[in-house]
Amino acid sequence: MELDRAPLEGMLLSVLEKGPAHGYAVIERLRDRSDGDFDLAEGTVYPALHRLERSRLLGSRWTEVGGRRRRTYSLTRRGRTQLAKRRAEWRAYAGAVQAVIG
């Protein structure tokens, strides 16, 4: 299933609501939550994570795990507010489409 930018970003914020995670774990959570429906090219998630960080909706920090550098993302306060807003917008949008399509 193809994902546009806005819903993907909303979903990334949502999976990070549960707690901080690195990119690989974010993708796993996304796949688990969608029951595998969103089988996206995993590499395309990283630019979205970077955009969200530049918008200060996510924060990140580097750690060292097993000799490899790992970047862990977490939701900022601004990210939480934005997530609540996007959720409300999405529900309104989905409800309207549902009402029309049936």
Partner: protein, 187 residues
């Protein structure tokens, strides 16, 4: 295999972000390879082109940035490079650029440079503020400057008033870049 993929990706990534992105991608691929094998990890990750395109500045934005940089760069020699008594129709009555014009010239350049820099470095919010600031202040200042310039120097050509358009164009570019949608979709 992963090393070859990373080398190919490195060649496609913007230099500014390369080191951090590669470290992050390598961590992902090694972890995925432990679970699925290298070939499958790379297949799931996507082609290097697919990944790199997400990190690139969209073409229309890059063009805007280049135009902004060129516009600012062209203002510096125009305002500062020429001897003060050289600008047409020299000489100035007082022998040098009047102070009332000099500080306005500096204000325009500072605002234009801020707008351009914030756009070049894609600081969206700053670009928006400086762009709006430049649009309001610099255009007004430059307009006044151009008129005063013409008044201060008898016989100054009318086209000098066009100088007032330059910061306005820069500000418009900054605003456009700051507000333009960055269309990208992820598969």
């Amino acid at each position: 295999m992963i090393d070859r993929y990373l080398a190919e990706l490195a060649a496609r990534l913007p230099r500014r972000r390369r080191t951090q992105v590669l470290a992050e991608v390598e961590d992902h691929l090694r972890q995925a390879a432990e679970a699925h094998g290298e070939e499958e990890a790379i297949r799931r990750f996507g082609t290097t082109e697919e990944v790199a395109v997400g990190f690139r500045t969209p073409r229309h934005l890059r063009l805007g940035q280049l135009l902004l940089a060129a516009a600012v760069a062209s203002m510096v020699p125009a305002f500062y490079g020429a001897p003060e008594n050289w600008l047409p129709p020299a000489p100035w009555p007082e022998g040098e650029l009047p102070f009332s014009l000099a500080w306005k010239r500096d204000a325009i350049l500072v605002l234009a440079a801020l707008a351009a820099l914030s756009t070049l470095f894609a600081v969206r919010r700053l670009a928006l503020f400086t762009g709006a600031g430049a649009a309001g202040l610099a255009s007004l200042t430059a307009g006044v400057l151009a008129v005063e310039w013409s008044d201060a120097v008898p016989g100054a050509p009318g086209w000098l008033a066009l100088v007032g358009l330059v910061p306005g164009l820069i500000a418009a570019g900054a605003l456009y870049s700051a507000t333009a949608p960055r269309a990208q979709s992820s598969k």
